[in-house]
Amino acid sequence: MILRTKKFTPYIYLFPAILILGLIYGYSLVRVFDFSTRRIRGITGVFIGLDNYKFVISDPVFRKAVLNNINLFVLIPILVFLAIIISYLLFEQLRGWKVYRGVIFMPYILPIPVVGVIFGYMFTLHGVVNSFLKLVKLDFLAIDWLGSPKFALWTLMIIILWKELGFGIILFLARLMSLEKEIFESAEIDGAGWWGKLFYVTIPQMRTIIEFFAIITVINMLSWVFAYSYTVTLGGPGDATMVMELFIFNKLGRSQLPMPGIASAASVFLFSGTAVLIFFLFRIRKEIGQEET
């Protein structure tokens, strides 16, 4: 159903959206390239070519940040695996499954700063986690979760996993519920066990949604972990949990002499990285669209 309108009417309706998106997204995505070629003092600065890019690439902190962002990808298979298992369990509608679902999704609702502070306390050397481990005589596990460079990033991952798992579960559960019941019944008749059904029936049916979730998570691990790093560890100890977003933030905001030019160059790197992923995102969306219809 298409309304008949004057030629320019649709644009009037679109105008506020385009204006605001143009101002916030359009303007900044153009200017960030411009700023990245300048040594900015205050609100503008001299043109210095690609020097800022050179500084960013040669900065060991930035390289470590990129590496850490990439290391966070380890979480993706873990998230996917756990989300599949748990959503599948919920799908079987064990007694009280709705309660479990509500509880398991709860972490996703909590603000990251809140989560960061809570876990910050829980994971200190003499915090709750270690007190508990000592109580159950697992002293060897009572490590310096956030204070040791060997474990800090892993601890951060545990926190992210805890917080983000709910989203994957809900997503997968919805997909499972939209599947035809007969698929499972016929598999059962064929004598497939629980694992068999999971691997040969369920997972293939969920392929696109799994891919979708994986890509969303990749994007998040690259560009939406600032709040974790900032509230839990400030990127430390040393640069053990430094991520690209925090690097950019620090170059802009944590100094009496901000370096917006360098921050912009780093932003351009991050943006280029995610731009590639946008392409994949589109492809997956299309596939999902086809499955739905």
Binding site: T9, V128, F167, S264, F282, I288
Partner: protein
């Protein structure tokens, strides 16, 4: 034969329950811990970090709220959330309406651009926007930050609304047009009344996002009296963190609005997150 199968079945079920209960415990424990600690005195907390609080101590909540700044931050978070969500919802309704029900040139390009904005890292925009906002004096103002929040929420909102509008039966619209309704009337009298659930979903998902945001508020609201709860909590953490139960009470209060909304509107909440992903 029958017996062993039954036994196996129960055995398997036992593990399933074990797993699901374990997962639930892990998910809920930090929140449970937060609540128990917030009901302790500092001394009780230091004596045992994970015992149950007894006797219950409610003073922390009173002290946390009885703080001029806390109230101010709460107001700021509230104003920003309401303002951004309202602006974003109106703008998205208009845009989605045009995209679905009107024909115009460049529709596909516009739609694709809007969708791809969903994947642009927000941090990429902070340098240019920071400098822009300083130049046009929007730092530490409600309108400036509301503008950013709405912009960030609009792509997802338009996306969600277009997929919902597409599912509406065309006859409804035809009837309205025959009645001689103008375009705006069709939107306000026909479409919007039907859009209750998806709009509610949008409002909730966006409100959650704005309320919980740290980065934008941190950069664009530097003035202490303009801080939001999330930033105030983070920046001033070390000042208050010596009294852990007090901090925890503060954290609980900060999270409460969203927890309540979640419990009441769980259905819409989950649906919203899913539809963002599933419908294409």
């Amino acid at each position: 034969m029958q017996n062993t199968k039954l036994l196996n079945y129960n055995y398997g079920n036992f593990f399933k329950y074990l797993l699901i209960i374990l997962a639930s415990l892990v998910c809920i424990y930090p929140l449970f811990w937060l609540i128990t600690v917030s009901l302790k005195t500092q001394a009780q907390y230091l004596a045992s970090k994970f015992s149950l609080p007894w006797p219950l101590y409610f003073q922390n909540f009173i002290s946390a709220v009885d703080n001029e700044k806390f109230f101010l931050w709460f107001m700021n978070s509230g104003i920003l959330t309401v303002g951004s969500v309202a602006l974003c919802t109106i703008i998205s309704l208009l845009a989605a309406y045009a995209i679905v029900f009107m024909s115009f040139r460049g529709k596909q390009i516009i739609m694709n651009s809007i969708i791809s904005l969903m994947a642009v890292p927000i941090v990429v925009m902070i340098v240019p926007l920071y400098i822009l906002f300083v130049r046009i004096h929007l730092m530490s103002t409600y309108p400036g930050v509301i503008l950013i929040y709405s912009a960030v929420c609009i792509p997802f909102s338009i996306y969600l609304l277009t997929s919902f509008f597409k599912s509406l039966p065309g006859e409804l619209l035809e009837a309205a047009i025959i009645d001689g309704c103008s375009n705006l009337k069709v939107l306000s009298k026909v479409i919007i009344p039907l859009s209750g659930p998806p709009v509610l979903t949008l409002i909730i998902v966006n409100a959650l996002w704005v309320w919980n945001d740290l980065l934008i508020a941190l950069v664009f609201l530097p003035r202490t009296d303009m801080r939001t709860l999330m930033v105030g909590l983070t920046v001033f953490k070390s000042k208050f963190n010596l009294d852990v139960p007090l901090t925890m009470a503060g954290l609980l209060i900060v999270s409460l609005p969203m927890i309540i909304i979640y419990i009441i509107f769980q259905r819409y909440f989950i649906r919203g997150l899913i539809s963002g992903a599933l419908k294409g």
